[in-house]
Amino acid sequence: MAVLETENLTVVLGDTVILEGITLAVEEGEVVALIGPNGAGKTTLLKAVLGLAPLRTGTVRLFGRPLASLGPERDRLGYVPQRLEVDRSLPVTVAELMAINTPRRYWSRDRALRVLAEVDAERLFGRRAGHLSGGELQRVLIALNLLRDPRILFLDEPATGIDREGEKRFYEVLESLRASRRMTVIMVSHDLSVVYRHASRVLCINRRLLCQGPPAAILNDETLERLYGHAAAVYEHH
């Protein structure tokens, strides 16, 4: 069953066409990675699907319905941004960050501790969010979404600014969550080795949807050269 479908989706900001004619479908349980060069429209595609960027044309359907008529199912959408908008010196604790961003019907201290344990971050509950490492904060942001038991988790370059070890831990946690909760994951990523290891399908975006398929079929020199140009067609398989 498709949990996300877009048809002929076009986004124009100012005079610039950011996305053009994107038609795609994501099945339940898939891990989909959006790849492409800087400015290709990957984040905009994520935002357009979530109603955060205006559509010039086209339609988006989540769980078979338009976003505006999702009703309570809207709670089942998880979203992890690249970063928070406040600076790190703000005295907001992890517990507060989670409570503020969770509807009351899903919130309890016990539930919060349980989901934090799922992302190996239980000990961070009382810590200040600004004192966490990049990897820890991203895991907390995932936990915050888990409180609403999401069916789809959208991640916008979740490993940006995280050290190698933190990034490895982050993707291990994500992989284990996907398996235990049967979540669909849709993520924007620049790291092709991560995409190779963790994605079940890759969508190549550069204003248009240029190609899609399993990582092994997509991540080859020919496709990457077409997508990124010569200099960027370097990636590692582990």
Binding site: L50, E85, T93, E96, N101, F154
Partner: protein, 256 residues
């Protein structure tokens, strides 16, 4: 003095509570622009024969919404938009002063604040306004904080982000315009920003920041008023200096 203390307590409670959002969202300059537009509103009210405080609130709300609309619908940076409105409001205010020669004394009262002249009628109106703002802050604190922490995350959860942005601006406009009589246009932003900034320096959680911000605001309002009474100094300036002293102390503590 009783009326002055009552007014001081009211504003000492409310301005710092709203100030927490101002500090988190980095909207201090926005508060200044609103205060200057309130001054223009007062001058317009005197010119048109409308009660100046009402004109100030109405005009401040209009300017706040105008700035908010332009921020949302243009690519002009926020600080530039605020700078344009700030100087525009100040220029119109000064222009109107020229047309209101006979009212200059009244206008200077609004510029520098004169809490000791607050009447019971003024106090009642201020109390109603600030109670309304206080209730709105209590009811909207969660979505306002969600938008402050991450607009996109809030929007995905169905928070009406634009409406919350406008709501915060209107609350700020009403609070600033209603507080002008206490500390004056030039210093009103200090009562919004400084207690919240001091609280931020010494707090370990957001909840504590709210509590300390209000406590600091209350303390500075009362201490400033009593100080101005004892030292025979300007009330608004004394309140703000009490806030600055507290901020300096918080800075010393935060640096340890």
């Amino acid at each position: 003095m009783q009326r002055a203390l009552a007014a001081g307590v009211l504003m000492g409670l409310l301005c710092p509570a709203l100030g927490v959002f101002v500090v988190i969202r980095r909207m201090s300059f926005f508060g200044d622009a609103i205060a200057h537009s309130a001054f223009t509103g007062i001058a317009l009210g005197l010119l048109a024969g409308v009660e100046p405080s009402r004109a100030a609130i109405g005009f401040a709300i209009l300017v706040a919404l105008g700035m908010g609309w332009l921020q949302a619908h243009s690519r002009i940076p926020s600080d530039t938009i605020i700078g344009v409105f700030f100087s525009g409001a100040a220029a119109v205010g000064i222009l109107l002063i020229g047309l209101l020669q006979g009212y200059n004394t009244n206008l200077f009262g609004y510029l520098f604040g004169d809490i000791l002249t607050v009447s019971w009628a003024d106090l009642r109106v201020t109390a109603w306004l600030l109670t309304g703002v206080g209730l709105a802050v209590v009811l909207l604190r969660r979505p306002l904080l969600q938008v402050a922490l991450n607009r996109d995350m809030a929007a995905v959860q169905g928070v009406p982000v634009a409406a919350m942005e406008y709501a915060l601006m209107v609350l700020l406009a009403v609070t600033v315009a209603a507080s002008i009589k206490l500390v004056g246009i030039i210093l009103v932003t200090a009562l919004l920003v400084v207690p919240a900034a001091a609280a931020r320096n010494v707090s370990v959680s957001l909840r504590q920041m709210f509590v300390l911000s209000v406590a600091f605001g209350l303390l500075c309002s009362v201490a400033g008023l009593l100080g101005s009474y004892l030292l025979n100094t300007a009330s608004g300036a004394t309140i703000v200096l009490a806030c600055i002293a507290l901020f300096t102390a918080s800075l010393v503590r935060a640096e340890r």
